[in-house]
């Protein structure tokens, strides 16, 4: 069966594809950052609760309060890139979602469970025993990790139409893209990156927690950066495996086949080395900058890889356009106004917290 014949016809765009591409990358960056914090904080908190519950009690409580925010914004910031992904790649992502429909829909239930359990963990932190807390957080984290696994499945499946005929053997939506050679490495690549980001977030959070004793604060920053550094080291190892597991046409673009892809990939690689360097030297802001740049570059690399995967079938530039600009203009206006009001609200919150501290 010719996989190309299975690809559904797309609907036309309202503005040229580049706008959506820009918005997709921008909002995906926001999503992945918060997602990393969510998973990373979850893993670090759980490990600490398992390893030294009494010693890390306060730190875990602090992190637990942040996990629920992170869930809320992971979902919220996930909505936008998922929207723009559907606009550019709807015919691919809908198809792959249907092929693994049961698992894909279960994401919602795992999400509710993860979120609800995270809230219980937060609200009952002091009331419940460490054992129960571990179970709560462990369950919540397991849900999050499972969701990540399903996302990795779907986003690899969407860009490999050659795997789609599996639908005819599994029309009930109980298919996972387990035969995909990059699947495990790709999944681990995201999850370990999350731990690294979680470590950095812990360091940054601690940096701003002026109410902590200085010694404790410094210890936390150090600990956070250690998580960041070691996880990034593991990340590089996994990244190499991931790279080598890519299909040759895709791999080729990063090793000279496409100068932009090669350059961006090299930049990301250099960035990750800087992450380790700054992390090891406990230079918080340098490490933060290195990580931000590395993640941005990796997002661009990821996007180019997707284009390479789909090159035999499709490029978003092929999509027909029926121009209507006024809705986009209104969106940008409302986005600006919304961001302004959000900033205002954050300022109110900041002032309030300051007053409380005083």
């Amino acid at each position: 069966m010719d996989p190309a014949a299975l690809i559904p016809s797309p609907d036309p765009l309202q503005v040229p594809w580049g706008w959506f591409q820009f918005l997709l990358l921008l909002t995906f960056f926001l999503h992945i950052m918060v997602m990393n914090i969510m998973i990373g904080c979850g893993v670090i908190t759980l490990v600490k609760q398992l390893a030294s519950p009494a010693k890390s009690h306060a730190l875990c409580r602090d992190l637990s309060t942040k996990i629920t925010y992170a869930v809320a914004f992971t979902v919220n910031f996930g909505v936008a890139p998922f929207l723009f992904l559907q606009v550019l790649y709807g015919q691919f992502i809908y198809t792959s979602s249907i092929i693994m429909g049961a698992f894909w829909l279960s994401v919602i239930f795992f999400l509710i469970a993860a979120y609800g359990l995270a809230y219980i963990h937060k609200f009952q932190f002091d009331a419940w025993s460490p054992g129960r807390r571990r179970w709560l957080l462990g369950s919540s984290l397991a849900c999050m990790l499972l969701i990540g696994f399903f996302f990795t499945n779907n986003l690899t499946l969407m860009q490999t139409p050659a795997a789609w005929p599996a639908y005819f053997r599994h029309p009930g939506g109980l298919f996972l893209n387990l035969a995909e050679p990059t699947l495990v490495a790709r999944y681990l690549h995201f999850m370990v990156a999350a731990v690294a980001t979680g470590g950095l977030f812990l360091a940054l959070l601690s940096h701003f927690q002026k109410e902590l004793a200085e010694e404790e604060r410094r210890a936390r920053i150090k600990n956070g950066l250690a998580w960041f550094t070691y996880a990034t080291m593991v990340e590089i190892a996994i990244g190499i495996v991931f790279l080598l597991s890519l299909p040759k046409p895709v791999l080729r673009i990063f090793v000279g086949g496409n100068w932009l892809a090669t350059l961006l990939f090299a930049g990301a690689l250099v960035g990750s080395f800087y992450c380790i360097k700054f992390g090891a030297r406990e230079r918080l802001w340098h490490a933060t900058a290195a990580m931000t740049v590395t993640i941005l570059l990796m997002i661009l690399v990821r996007d180019l890889a997707r284009h390479a995967y789909l090159a035999p079938y499709f490029h978003p530039a092929d999509l027909p356009v029926a121009p209507q600009y006024s809705p986009m203009l209104l969106f940008f206006l409302i986005l600006a106004a919304g961001l302004g009001i959000v900033a205002y609200m954050l300022r109110l919150a900041w002032q309030s917290a300051k007053e409380v501290r005083q």
Binding site: L6, V342, L348
Partner: protein, 881 residues
């Protein structure tokens, strides 16, 4: 068609979406009204200087945060997931057309989350004014989210000018945008009160609890008048076809409409009860109960809204089976399997027919129907169909009888394959019991001596076949029986019709003389005919034997509605019982002449093909199961209570509402039974030629147990449509006459039919059932050999011109010499080849019309030179055997 189908089977697409959507909607509206509730209650607390109220708001905020963010927010994403899994084509249209609408809504969503989190976590830690500003901002963004989503949801119901322009703003500010926005806003306020009950009833201090419960009741009750007004506005804003459909309360939406209308007053009453001082346990229980009622209220509304949109997912643009309106004709013509991307079988063969049917099921049905699940279960819904053909017919007429269903987008072979899959695989059924076996019969031809006989006794029956319904405990189409006629002619050079001084007796043959033992008509006669009728007696007082009465023409004798049933006393089905006639001189009691003929009566209706149930008796008849299904369908569509009435022992005759033009009784506004029956079923049976007739008028195949069409025309290869036209044209002719008579109900049925034999409906001549029939002289112009092979659209002018009423130039009824309609000489009876020809066999020794082959001597006792009876009567019979 464009996308693969997630084969959900048990849950079905509809339920999966509904579960997620109703749950989300119930929370998301609370997230709006509840936001206003928070900030206003907080403000109220400050105004009242009540710490208790402010503390209550804080507690309620935590509850609000958990419910709206964990459950509301996540299920909102869930709807997105689920619709893209069940209906990706529609989702893609919504995403691509409203991408910046969704993006704007996302901005509001961000602001909503930020404001709510800050509002909650700074409660009591921020100055009051700023905290209230945050509360107001939350409400503003929550309501703005509704503003955007409302535009997109209502676009699906009333896309308005977007259909022509494709413009974002035309689609967004669609005809139902504003009323819907107001309606949903008021619902949101009401829900704030309902959810408020949950936390208010948990308060410990009884006095404060009562105060806050009453406060919440105010939220529930105050917006109701505005809600009702906005509902009215909403309905008025709908385009006429949708409004008309809602006004008619289609059966598919009836339950939801009832729930919607009943739960509103329940909420009001519940809200009022909550204001009474009650024990805490009672108010808590009632609060939960009212939540359930509120969920039903909103769920019913959403169901009605979605139902009003059917069969589309975007009204007028894309159907629920994901085929664009503009494409459906093209797809159906070429075949769905050829057009669909995600199928393995492009051509249907004998080997892959079930596998192809399975693919067709998931392509066309699965987005709404489950397999064995709780909603729109295809197994339950198709249980009544007793054959693949019947199911295929229904599939072909899906959209015509059910406004919620789209047209089947495939060709005839695909209809059959889908029906076969449902019937054989899902239903796991085999071909059901066929109609009764035909048991060969024999007859004796009465003696006749052409040289010495003085009289010729002619006999015929009113209807060449009288198909009765033996579902008498449920309803009756007609009493069991047939009307018989006779005429005595004294032979001679100048034959005389004898009607004075004689009696003509009739006797139904043994074995068929106790119809009351076979059918239940007499048990229910009082209900069916408004009077008691003694067993084995017809409605006009005739028994299975007796004296015929002189007819009003002064020449013939008749016994009307002689009680007959097609079941034999020894068992078995015989739709052609014999009746013997004896003409006796009244003065001398001398026997003048005898004759024998069949008095046809049948119970072989094909209703069970689609309405399910077994045969009632001996391989024929309408069983109570079949009849109940028919009444159930009638009740659903016509909003009658016939099934209940029948269950209470009060079955009715159909003509009570659907008048019979022959007697002019019944509801004058109702469609005649013929027009109603053919008009209702024609859309299902369209495009099937004469097979459509067999579906209902016998077992469903051309070879049933009765085979009442047995005259010479059948032998010559003319089928039902040669005289009556195909089903569509036949129904059109009947309905148009009803419309001319001012019966408005005809219009709805007429709108569903397109003529087949002519180009335009206007070219079809209206005809009143039973009064105007295909005119024999339409083909046999001036009694000559036929000039054409179709009598369709050539109706007799009135009742007097009917074949069964008309006479020749000498006053001899047509049927007396040619036999009754559908059995004109020479006929071939399936039970006994010459059974219908006994009379010509008796008098002429051949099966041809009386007097055929210039046999004038039969009555005239000599050859005749002139065609006194009708032109072309003095010839040899053309179609000799």
């Amino acid at each position: 068609m464009n996308y693969p189908i997630w084969e959900l089977t048990l849950f079905g697409g509809g339920l999966t979406i509904a579960l997620m959507a109703v749950f989300h909607v119930f929370i998301s509206h609370f997230a709006i009204g509840g936001g206003l509730f928070l900030v206003l209650t907080e403000w109220y607390g400050y105004r009242q200087n009540s710490t208790a109220i402010v503390d209550y708001v804080k507690t309620h905020t935590r509850f609000f945060l958990l419910v709206t963010m964990v459950l509301g927010g996540m299920t909102g994403v869930g709807i997105w997931f689920v619709i893209s899994l069940i209906n990706p084509a529609t989702t893609s249209i919504l995403i691509h057309n409203f991408v910046f609408g969704w993006a704007i809504e996302w901005v509001f969503f961000v602001a909503e989350i930020v404001s709510l989190l800050i509002y909650y976590y700074t409660f009591g830690r921020m100055n009051r004014r700023q905290h209230l500003i945050l509360g107001w901002l939350y409400f503003l963004f929550a309501w703005l989210s509704l503003f955007v989503i409302n535009g997109i949801i209502d676009f699906m119901l009333t896309p308005g000018r977007w259909l022509a322009t494709g413009n974002f703003w035309d689609g967004f500010f669609n005809p139902s945008f504003w009323p819907s926005l107001f309606f949903r806003t008021f619902v949101a306020l009401i829900l704030a009160g309902l959810y408020g009950f949950l936390t208010a009833t948990a308060l410990k201090d009884p006095a404060f609890r009562l105060r806050m419960v009453r406060y919440c009741a105010l939220w529930l009750l105050a917006p109701f008048a505005l809600l009702v007004a906005s509902t009215w506005w909403y309905v008025q804003a709908l385009p006429e076809p949708i409004r008309a459909m809602l006004t008619q309360q289609p059966p598919e939406l009836l339950l939801a409409i009832k729930i919607f209308l009943w739960t509103a007053p329940l909420l009001i009453v519940g809200g009022l009860i909550m204001t009474i001082r009650l024990p805490q346990s009672a108010t808590r229980s009632l609060a939960v109960l009212l939540m359930a009622v509120g969920l039903c209220y909103l769920g019913a509304f959403e169901y009605i809204r979605e139902g009003s949109r059917r069969p589309y997912t975007i009204h007028g643009h894309i159907y629920s089976h994901s085929i664009l309106k503009k494409d459906i004709g093209k797809v159906a013509q070429a075949g769905l399997l050829k057009n669909a991307r995600w199928v393995q079988h492009r051509e249907i063969t004998g080997q892959n027919r079930l596998a192809a049917g399975r693919e067709l099921f998931f392509l066309t049905c699965a987005s709404c129907h489950s397999i064995g699940g709780p909603t729109r279960d295809i197994i339950r819904l198709t249980k009544g169909y007793n054959s693949i053909d019947a199911l295929a017919a229904r599939i072909g007429g899906l959209c015509d009888l059910n406004s919620a269903m789209p047209a089947f987008p495939g060709n005839a072979a695909e209809q059959q394959a889908l029906a076969a899959y449902i019937f054989e695989v899902l239903q796991q059924r085999e071909k059901p019991a066929a109609a009764a076996e035909i048991t060969p019969q024999q007859h004796e031809v009465p003696p006749f001596d052409p040289a010495a006989a003085e009289y010729v006794l002619l006999a015929w029956n009113e209807y060449g076949m009288h198909t009765i319904s033996d579902s008498d405990s449920r309803f009756s189409l007609r009493p069991p029986g047939n009307t018989i006629h006779a005429m005595l002619i004294k032979r001679g050079a100048r034959p005389q019709v004898i009607s004075e001084g004689i009696d003509i007796h009739y006797t139904v043959e043994a074995g068929s003389t106790n119809p009351a033992g076979q059918v239940e008509f007499w048990n229910h006669a009082a209900s069916l005919t408004d009077r008691e009728i003694p067993p084995n007696t017809g409605p006009t007082g005739n028994g299975t034997s007796g004296l015929m009465r002189p007819a009003t023409d002064g020449r013939t004798f008749s016994a009307t509605e002689v009680p007959l049933a097609p079941y034999q006393e020894g068992g078995g089905y015989l739709p052609y019982p014999l009746v013997t006639f004896a003409a006796v001189d009244r003065a001398s009691s001398a026997m003048l002449a005898t004759a024998t003929m069949v008095a046809p009566v049948s119970t072989e209706w094909g209703c069970r093909n689609c309405h399910g149930g077994p045969w009632r008796k001996a391989g024929s008849g309408l069983s109570p199961e079949t009849a109940d299904n028919i009444l159930g369908v009638h009740d659903r569509y016509a909003k009658t209570t016939l099934l209940r009435q029948a269950g209470e022992g009060k079955p009715l005759r159909c003509q009570l509402c659907h008048p019979d033009p022959r007697d002019g009784k019944g509801n004058p506004k109702g469609l005649s039974l013929s027009a109603a029956m053919h008009g209702f079923h024609a859309p299902i049976l369209k495009g099937r030629g004469a097979d459509a007739c067999f579906f209902c008028h016998q077992d469903g195949a051309p070879h049933g147990a009765t085979r009442f069409y047995r005259g010479i025309h059948n032998e010559l290869g003319l089928d039902c449509t040669a005289c009556h036209g195909v089903m569509e044209d036949h129904a059109l002719s009947l309905l148009m006459a009803e419309q001319q008579a001012g019966k408005t109900a005809a219009a709805r049925r007429l709108a569903l039919l397109k003529p087949v034999g002519v180009d335009q409906p206007a070219q079809i001549k209206p005809r009143q059932a039973w009064i105007s029939q295909p005119d024999c002289l339409g083909c046999h112009v001036d009694f000559q050999p036929p000039g054409s092979s179709t009598a369709f659209n050539q109706w007799t002018a009135g009742e007097a011109d009917l074949f069964r009423r008309r006479t020749d130039n000498m006053g001899i009824p047509c049927a007396a010499c040619h036999n009754s309609a559908h059995a004109v000489y020479p006929a071939t009876n399936p039970y006994d080849a010459e059974r219908d020809n006994i009379i010509p066999r008796q008098y002429q020794g051949n099966p041809y019309p009386l007097g055929a082959n210039k046999n004038c001597a039969l009555c005239h006792t000599r050859e005749m030179k002139e065609e006194m009876h009708h032109p072309n009567s003095l010839t040899n019979f053309r179609n000799v055997r």
